[in-house]
Subunit: 534 residues, 2 copies
């Protein structure tokens, strides 16, 4: 993690609210500053509860009520169920998965502002409105393996995708391909460092061998000229071709008009390059075949639909010496459920509003963590013009417009229709979009995309569906970012009586399903240990 | 393309024999030196012959005999067939596709040294023994679209894959992940350039704005410290984690022990980094679902199997004023075929041995192009230990051992078994392996792989199949690299009487199917224009 703020919107936003989307880096930084717990508290290898834990000890599994059927809640039921716990999930929405939500033709949703959308996507087209990518190291993939969910590559990076920085002076139609931007930045960086090295400016830091090896690296990395040419960067095939290499004497035409060093750095294209180095974002990344909701669907099947109450909005939690009572409404009726334990796997800021007897500290902690606004739109097109016209088969175009990111689809290559994520934005940019009607969101996203891709971005559009997570009932946020050292965070890591908490917001992988999985595992482990000790 | 030789084996080998595998770069260099034809000779947009070309003009389609059923030969028949040409392909092997060859369980092959192998791969496991990846810009993808061949991502790059340079002092078990190598190299490069910039060493090249923007880029790119810390690189989460971020207070543990600048550059890891910038190698790349041979199979179906003579080895070509006669042997019998035109789409060095009356210049030219030895081995494992133990889901590990490259599979993720390409090597390294028996090739590849992955690389192995293209009948080489400015190359771009030539070796995309496709298109265009003019 770069201790100097970058200008990439999501990452800088996350940092501004006190957490890195990536892999606990801020925590590590805080550790270096003496602000964090002194030693890394690594989770021991996870061991799922087993039926034999009970049969061998004479103890019996208990009844557990789980508030929320997102990934954390589902995983809690799934893991406890392995040992025979009697789990019931109360889920306020009409489907499990929480923010793991795949929109297909027919999906209907009404937001808190009264906007109702019904997706008219064609058969086989979908939008992963929430989580959409999985890094190789994440336990999410272990669950895909265990549950039999097939995966395919998520295209998080593409040399053929574009960068469009209009705040740095780029004009419509003049977006730059990643490959070109990299070639120019790396070329000039190499030229500058080679010159400085050769002139002896770094002799105190470099041995003769170091210098020789460094110059050799820069020649390859930056595709620069030799010493006689002053190590000049003058372009390279890495920039791409205006006419591709062909038959006979057609060597193709390398993209020319290399901009000056000043123009390259003032275009600010380099600020996106470190994204692909992130531990959580580096390729290769993956997605379930057919939609991210294959994961909650598989979990739901494994748990058993009879253990899940849909449309069940929690209205009260009462912890007692012998158990927990939860009240909820379902189809207009007030219902009540008793259990030995409760796991609250709802968004913390919503749990804070549920009447309970866990104490004011718990309420305050639950309501204290910053919530990030997040939006996405899926634009279905009648043709895959980005493949035929631009030779872009997936990946992400970065912009400094408030759409922030455009995602080309990672599935359906070479097909007839396809779905582009027309914006994926956070913070104030997400608020700008969510303040609009769905039709106006589409219009704004298309008007911005046209600057990169021209009129087809408008004329080929078939239909769209947008989501504003912060305006979505029973979620009301993209993700919640706890200050890890706060007393409130530490409080919620422990059970309040017989009530436990779980969710990605109780992990160092906020906004990732990995965080929900590992938090659920930690809660399951703690609860099971207590039962076994009791 | 970098004008300074890099140390990556395949690329430097290609350069040493006079051609870049990538996109005509050498040609461009030669152009700059005044050695090449003065202007780029871009191929006009391809227009396939149509039936209406004949019906509207009163001309009739002709009979064409095509020598070789590889991609160039198949494409020639496919494209001419669109207008009703009567094409016959003579293919010496028992299958079409040429070097586009997918090995599955039951595939049998005997090489020129008498080694017979029969693949014992399990169901669903395959090895793309020849071409295995497709860049987004290549017409290969257009053919996949036209022919209805589904594609998926080929994983040409993975931050989790390894680099192992034993010639630079790395020892078994101490391979470095790409993500770690990049973090350290980019970190020190950024530190050095930031220092030089800050000290004014580059003030003649940089304005104050340039300096400020460059420092901002380096901070993000190299994850270095600020000015007060001397812009020091001291590690970053980009290096990876020894313990992944988890629940609660488990921030994970960033991989530590950052090596010194001298150690990083002497490890020579950076020489591999520019590979991913290549116009022909940059992600995203693709492969057909189920094996590369889905392309020749689809072409074969489109052409019609009745137009293809298998086991037909050409023994003579006689060009005459009114047609071409071709003799061949098939199932022990000498056969003869007459046609209006002939397209020779065989490897040139093999065509050079076929008796013909096209002249000594043609023979000399055909036999004059350097041929590259190329080898590959597919190692099928009983478990996908690279996924479970190393969290590697595809991509390439680079080494300076003579196995050169290890490829993790781009298909079958999360499954039970899987196939690793245990070596993909060229030049002298390929010769070292091809001199061994198949069993000894396996043993050598495994012994080298164990240095990176430990004993499982041996103990989990189920079976293997290796290919040495330079020792494969009717092919006898990985690819053939013409000097583009040679009179011989120019001669073979033109027909010799009624005999045309086609193949990737007549393009600026040698060793790529793209080259075979565009060459075939060029030949089809020339032949059809002649027929239409005649």
């Amino acid at each position: 993690m770069n201790p100097v703020p970058t200008q990439v919107s999501r990452r800088s936003f996350l940092r501004s609210v006190g957490v890195s989307g990536g892999a606990g880096a801020l925590f590590a930084t805080m550790g270096a500053l003496g602000l964090a717990p002194t030693a890394a508290q690594a989770t021991p290898a996870y061991r799922a509860p087993r039926p034999s834990d009970f049969t061998l000890t004479g103890r019996s599994a208990r009844k557990v009520v789980i508030l929320g059927g997102g990934i954390a809640g589902l995983t809690t039921a799934y893991e406890l169920g392995k040992a025979g716990y009697d789990c019931t999930i109360l889920e306020a929405r009409d489907r499990t998965g929480g923010r793991n939500f795949t929109v297909r033709g027919g999906t209907e949703q009404t937001d808190l502002d009264g906007n109702t959308q019904r997706a008219r996507f064609s058969n086989g087209t979908y939008l992963n409105a929430g989580p959409a990518r999985i890094a190789q190291w994440m336990v999410t993939l272990d669950y895909c393996r265990e549950l039999g969910v097939p995966v395919e590559v998520f295209t998080n990076q593409n040399a053929s995708a574009f960068i469009y920085n209009e705040q740095s002076g780029m004009t419509p139609g003049n977006a730059v391909r990643y490959r070109t931007a990299k070639a120019d930045v790396y070329g000039y960086v190499s030229e500058l460092l080679a010159k400085a090295t050769d002139q002896g400016a770094l002799d105190t830091a470099l041995s003769a061998d170091d210098k020789s090896r460094l110059l050799s690296f820069l020649a390859s990395f930056g595709a620069i000229g030799n010493k006689a040419s002053g190590y000049a960067y003058t372009g390279t095939e890495h920039r791409g071709f205006t006419s591709d290499p062909g038959a006979g004497n057609d060597a193709g035409t390398i993209l020319g008009s290399v901009p000056s060093l000043s123009d390259v750095f003032s275009s600010n294209v380099g600020k996106y390059f470190s994204f692909e180095f992130g531990y959580d974002q580096a390729m290769l990344m993956f997605q379930p075949v057919g939609g991210m909701d294959q994961i909650p669907q598989a979990l739901t099947r494994a748990i058993g639909a009879h253990r899940i109450e849909l449309g069940a909005a929690v209205t009260g939690v009462t912890d007692g010496p012998n158990g927990v009572q939860v009240t909820y409404t379902q189809r207009g009726k007030v219902r009540r459920i008793s259990a030995d334990y409760c796991v609250a796997a709802m968004p913390p800021h919503l749990m804070a509003r549920v009447p309970h007897n866990l104490g004011a500290d718990v309420t305050a902690a639950l309501g204290s963590f910053p919530v990030t606004p997040v939006g996405k739109i899926g634009l279905e097109y009648r043709s895959r013009w980005w493949e035929t016209d631009y030779k872009i088969f997936g990946g992400i175009t970065e912009t400094d417009m408030d759409l922030q990111h455009i995602w080309y689809p990672s599935y359906g290559h070479l097909g007839e229709r396809g779905l582009i994520v027309g914006y994926y934005n956070t913070g104030s940019a997400a608020n700008v979009y969510s303040a609009l009607s769905p039709a106006d969101r589409e219009a704004r996203a298309v008007a911005q995309g046209v600057k990169i891709h021209g009129d087809k971005y408008r004329t080929e559009l078939a239909t769209s569906f947008s989501i504003a997570w912060h305006r979505t009932p029973y979620l009301e946020g993209g993700w919640t970012s706890p200050p890890y050292t706060s007393p409130g965070y530490q409080l919620l890591l422990r059970p309040s009586g017989r009530v436990y908490f779980a969710g990605d917001w109780l992990s160092h992988a906020v906004a990732w399903q990995h965080g929900a999985f590992v938090s659920a595992r930690a809660t399951v482990t703690a609860l099971h240990q207590r039962v076994m000790a009791g």
